[in-house]
Structures are given as C-alpha cells and as structure tokens.
Symmetry: C2
Subunit: 179 residues, 2 copies
C-alpha cells in the first residue's frame, strides 16, 4: 500500500510518501514541502499548491491520499488557508480517482506515538524510528505528512475489516430474507 | 467587463454572470447553482464543484471572477465547506489566468443596497431591479452571486483609478530621483 500524506498549508504544505502494510517495516519513498510565496495572490498560491502536489502524484502514483482533517483553531486566518490547501489536495486526488482519507491530528499522533496529545518532537522522533531514517525530517510539516501516511497504513486494515464485516452482514441479512 | 460572481458553498454554490461598466445599465448573461450531494465524500463534492464551475467558465469566458471572501462564522462546519468551495473557484480561475477578486458580504450588500447590513431579501430586490429581471433569482445563493458580480463591476473603476494613481506616483518619484 502506497500512501501520500499531506499536511495542508499555504506557506508550507508537507508531503510524504510511505509504502508498506501494517505489521511490517515501512519504507519512505519521498518527503518534502510545497511552498508558496506569502505575498502572492491567494488564487496563485492555491495554483502553486496544485502544481506542486500534481508533481508528487505524477512521480509516486500513490493508491491513497491521507490528508489532515482541518478543525477551527484559535488562529482563524491560518485555518482558512489550511482548509483551502486541503481542498486542493482532495481535489487533485479525486480528479485521479485516488481515494482520500482524512485523519485528525490526534488520530495521527495516537497512531505513531501512542498518545493523541504527543508533542511535535515526539512525532518527529517516532517517524524517524519507524521509517529508519538517520534524522527527523525537517520542517515539522514534512514529518507530519509522513506521520499521516503511516497512520493511514496502520488504520486502514481495521477499516477494511469493518467494511468486510458490514458487507458480510448485508449478504447474510439478504440471505435471511430470501430463505 | 464580464464578471462571474461565485457565492461559494458545497451544497449550493451560486454562480452569476454579469456584463457591463459602472454607470451604465448592466446585463445578466446567466445565473444558476452548482449543487453537490450532501452524502457524497468531501473530495468528490469538491470535484463536482470544480466540474460545475469549469462549465460556467467555458460557456461565459469571464474576464474577472469575483468570489465572496469567507470569514469564520458561528457554524464552523459550514465555514470550512465554504472556504474549501471558494478555494476550488479561485483555483479554476487562476488556472485560466483570470484575475480573482474577493469581496466581503458587507461590501457586496453596501454596493447593491447602500447598506452593508442589508437583509437577503433587500439584496435580491436590488439585483432584480439593477438587472431588470422579472423576479428575484432563486435560490438566494444565485442572487448573491449576481450581487458579487455587480459589486465587482462597480468597485473596479475606483480600484483601477487607485492603481493608475499609484503607477503615476511611482513614475514621478522615479523621475524626481533621476532629475
């Protein structure tokens, strides 16, 4: 399973590609940041995010895109830009028919550190260990994108099993009715 | 000057095309709503908004796109969707090299009714009168999109004059230095 994690942002949009399955060592295929100029027009910043993400999608052809779910925070101005950058990421994936999963920051932290309230440094340290890197990826947005991809790989089996269970239940219920 | 106004939203994204110049009667070239299913995946809703807006851009080839500037409101869930739909609108315009202008709801209300705190019905009534329509466009999102386009046409001359003045001042300042 190859996953592109996206930590959305206008100034720095973190991107990280991880391949693997739950229960096996994971491999980092790429990590980086799409940056846009702070003084540029908002529409041009969104276009630059799109162009940057398209390059990552072209190069790595992920099967899933995991995007951080944006919540309203204290800084309303920042959260708007984050929501808009996340929209661009979801749009790029949907256009290619790639499924998009949203994970909350606490889900991601809990997945990689065991605690939904872990500090940034702890997330960076665990990403470094889990992907067997020589140093934590910088900036933090890049490390967060990798953590999102890892979270998705580890959470996906449970979701798949749930979906399978629901599908089986539906089949059995249908059988019950037709019997 | 042909302007596409966009009142962004996921469930209903209002669109309206107005042509004209300040001080002359305006003409409505089209009005409508791009809708996306409430129960669809967010990434697919954004894709549907993109596809809908692309059709409007293809058909009307506007010179400007005017989008409502999104602020944080009481309903955080709604404002996120609005911010994300507005990102799609800005992105579609930027991709085509069409300039995007953002206008606040109170700027739009003040432009068409004279008061930044006008009610929805008053905006609808003025849009109907200014575009010489037989009835107010429905739903309100469609009327708001037309109001955005009108606002842009009427505000633009002042902005252009300001930009011209700044340009002249810069030229004179440069002359002063070289003299």
């Amino acid at each position: 399973m190859r996953v592109l994690g996206v930590d959305p942002g206008l100034t720095r949009c973190g991107v990280g590609v991880v391949e693997g399955v739950a229960g096996r060592p994971l491999t980092m295929l790429g990590v980086g940041v799409v940056r846009t100029p702070v003084d540029a027009d908002l529409s041009h910043r969104l276009l630059a995010v799109e162009q940057g993400l398209e390059q990552w999608l072209d190069e790595h052809r992920p099967e899933f895109v995991a995007v951080e779910r944006v919540f309203s925070q204290h800084n309303v101005r920042t959260v708007m830009g984050t929501a808009q950058a996340s929209a661009v990421a979801m749009l790029c994936a949907a256009r290619r028919g790639i499924p998009v999963a949203l994970h909350t920051p606490s889900e991601v932290k809990a997945a990689v550190t065991g605690s939904g309230r872990a500090e940034k440094a702890q997330v960076g340290a665990m990403v470094t260990r889990l992907l067997r890197l020589s140093a934590p990826p910088k900036p933090a947005d890049a490390a967060d994108a990798l953590a999102l991809a890892i979270c998705h790989i580890w959470r996906a089996p449970a979701q798949n099993r749930l979906q399978q269970a629901v599908a089986r239940h539906t089949v059995n219920a249908t059988k019950g009715r037709t019997a």
